[in-house]
């Protein structure tokens, strides 16, 4: 009996010690996390004040070199605050609107003088200055307890919970949203990009569900016999489409077809991988025949990537005037290595079709343009989006450079009119 009592007391005591130790560990972890979050909040707060000052500094000058440093500071600080905000457990709505505002402010400050009239730039910064001051106050109020370490993680989570929130996160999000819309309305090219994303440029007549199904069956006869269901996109979609799911023998997949015009957005099927590999050229021929039969006749092969069970091919639309590749209008095709069967088609970018304009082409002396050790291997014309979201005609040069005994390959895109480097990409 004594032994049993001893064992029971010992077990209870051990359990109590263990529970205490685990609870202490949890507390330590929570403290460490709170400290980390407090640090990030404190960083964001001090950088917000710096940002406020940097924005005010731009108001001292007319456009030009005078405020260059301040504008660069705005870009850097807004990017830093974005990073701090992204690493904090905040209200999701607040976090996204705040990230957006900071991103747009930084971008505007960096590119502002190239895109905006000096008086307009001044006006925007003036408004931004007032808004940031307000935000700074609100931010300090919202995070005061957390920044001073007076709030546990549990309390902080409760503060974020809309039911128990002691702070009006929703109101703050709405204010920021309002500031974003007033300070940084969409530019013409951003508005164009949005329209393109929403397929506003497609003027085709709507197709019925039956017509969409007919198209699917015509293009993919080997997988379209067993359609599981066809549903409409939900009202929140940027563009209306039909979502068709199928399961045929060993293949399961989907196809999305736009309601306007019945264009394929994407098609993807999953099936067990077979053994054996077909010659890549043979698979490519099959893919190109499929593209031709499907009506994609204005595309040209761009590149291919081989992986364990499939090849991923990329095709680019060819603009007829300059025979330039339109890098944003691409089609991706996934084909099985085993037998070249089409496993996927992605034409979402292709059907958006960029609006292209003719452009002056000046001669560029590449020998003086590049360093003497750079070798030019290939040159072609492409249309590519520049940093302002405008499609520009560019020379695409594949160049090589000796890098410590190895050949480094780059594709450099140079504007044919302004000679500006639009993009430089290192190739693998």
């Amino acid at each position: 009996m004594k032994k049993l009592l001893f064992l029971t007391v010992f077990a209870v005591f051990s359990l109590a010690v263990y529970t205490y130790s685990v609870s202490m560990q949890n507390k330590d972890l929570q403290n460490a996390l709170s400290v980390q979050y407090a640090k990030n909040i404190s960083d964001a707060s001090s950088k917000l004040q710096e940002l406020d000052i940097a924005v005010k500094k731009t108001l001292l000058f007319n456009q030009g070199e005078g405020d260059l440093q301040a504008r660069e500071n705005i870009w850097r600080l807004s990017s830093d605050i974005q990073q701090s905000v992204a690493s904090l457990p905040l209200d999701q709505g607040f976090s996204t609107t705040w990230m957006n505002y900071l991103g747009r402010l930084g971008k505007f400050a960096k590119e502002g003088d190239e895109r905006t009239e000096p008086a307009e730039f001044h006006k925007v910064m003036d408004r931004a200055s007032e808004n940031i001051e307000n935000l700074s106050d609100q931010w300090s109020l919202a995070t005061a307890d957390m920044a001073s370490g007076n709030l546990s993680m549990k309390d902080w989570q409760e503060r974020l919970d809309s039911e128990k929130a002691s702070f009006d996160w929703k109101g703050l999000s709405a204010s920021i949203q309002q500031y974003t819309e007033s300070d940084f309305p969409l530019t013409a090219s951003e508005s164009d990009a949005l329209k393109k994303k929403q397929l506003k440029n497609i003027k085709d007549a709507p197709v019925t569900k039956e017509e969409a199904l007919k198209k699917f069956k015509k293009l993919f006869p080997d997988v379209s016999k067993q359609v599981i269901d066809t549903t409409d996109s939900k009202p929140g979609a940027s563009y209306p489409f039909y979502h068709i799911r199928f399961a045929d023998q060993d293949s399961v997949g989907y196809i999305d077809i736009t309601k306007k015009g019945g264009h394929i957005l994407s098609f993807l099927t999953e099936r067990p991988a077979g053994s054996g590999t077909m010659e890549m050229e043979q698979v490519r021929n099959k893919v190109e025949l499929f593209l031709k039969d499907s009506g994609y006749t204005d595309v040209i092969f761009e590149e291919v990537r081989e992986n364990d069970t499939a090849f991923h091919f990329v095709y680019t639309r060819l603009e007829p005037l300059h025979k330039a590749k339109v890098l944003s209008d691409t089609i991706q095709v996934k084909a099985a290595k085993q037998d070249g069967r089409i496993l996927g088609l992605n034409a979402a970018e292709y059907i958006r079709k960029e609006k292209l304009e003719d452009q002056k082409m000046v001669r560029i002396d590449w020998e003086t343009y590049f360093h003497k050790e750079v070798q030019i291997s290939e040159q072609e014309l492409v249309y590519v989006e520049n940093m302002h979201g405008t499609q520009r005609l560019a020379y695409a040069l594949t160049v090589t450079l000796n890098e410590n005994g190895q050949v480094g390959t780059y594709v450099v895109l140079v504007d044919t009119e302004t000679k500006e480097v639009i993009r430089t990409e290192r190739q693998q």
């Binding site: 709505g93 976090s95 549903t231 050229e281 990537r305 996934k334």
Partner: protein, 262 residues
């Protein structure tokens, strides 16, 4: 004396055996043509042979990228062949005749993740650098993504949606990639995935489960442009979602158990 003869005979047979094995290796190229974008053991052999004759200084990894392309063109030019950067049967035959390939040496070092080279004219044993690294899988992705991105995304996709249809897994990967391009979110894979409260799999630790090949393939498809979510930046499971805010987002479509929204 007989014993000596036997020893000599055995040594001779071993020598012939080794030579035969090596000459078989020399003919180990597969029939298919190799060009930029291909990968596999035959590309490993191509790189090793090009290195043997001094044209290829890059890493032998089985991926036919630009380094291999330039080396092959240089080889074709040097041997008076049509310069197209494609290893067809004639190029492979020529390369085989002027080079040697120690398959065992190359494959052993690759599987053990060792740094090594395969130059001719110096002992192979002296071409292995000390230490070892984790062998990298030679997955081919668009240049803007790295092997680390693939790994992290596959972990997230597996942790978040392993019970979902393949389409749903590609859609989850696409949502993460859409966020990277979106101004409201961090602009790196890690930044998006580890944003506090963004993904349940991060909060409950399921992100650290080992992903299967299906999840990896779903990520590769998303990286190559497929987006079954149709530009969504959020998704949620209506049965388990606790946030009321998520219901306020404009919904696009439902795949499996997830609703995808803007």
């Amino acid at each position: 004396m007989n014993k000596l003869k036997r020893v000599v005979l055995i040594a001779f047979l071993i020598f012939v055996g080794v030579q035969l094995t090596l000459s078989n290796d020399a003919l180990a190229f597969t029939d298919r043509g190799l060009s930029k974008g291909t990968k596999g053991d035959d590309v490993i052999e191509l790189q090793a042979r090009l290195q043997y004759v001094g044209f290829f200084d890059g890493k032998i990894d089985g991926v036919f990228g630009y380094q291999t392309y330039w080396a092959l063109r240089e080889f074709q030019e040097k041997y008076g062949m049509p310069v197209d950067g494609v290893a067809g049967s004639k190029t492979k035959k020529k390369l085989t005749s002027v080079s040697s390939y120690d398959k065992k040496f190359v494959m052993d070092n690759i599987s053990k993740g060792r740094e090594f080279t395969h130059y001719g004219g110096k002992p192979l044993s002296s071409q292995v650098k000390g230490g070892s690294t984790t062998p990298k899988k030679n997955t081919q992705m668009p240049p803007k993504y790295s092997e680390d991105d693939l790994k992290l995304l596959a972990n997230a996709v597996y942790g978040e949606s392993r019970g979902e249809p393949y389409e749903g897994q590609v859609a989850v990967a696409a949502v993460i990639l859409n966020r990277i391009e979106h101004p409201d979110f961090p602009n790196t894979v890690g930044g998006v995935i580890f944003q506090p409260g963004a993904f349940t799999a991060v909060s409950d630790g399921q992100i650290w489960l080992t992903p299967n090949e299906r999840a990896k393939e779903a990520v590769i498809d998303a990286m190559n442009g497929w987006d079954p979510s149709e530009n969504a930046i959020y998704y949620f499971n209506p049965v388990t979602a606790t946030s009321k805010w998520i219901w306020s987002r404009p919904q696009i479509k439902k795949i499996g158990l997830h609703i995808f929204c803007n």
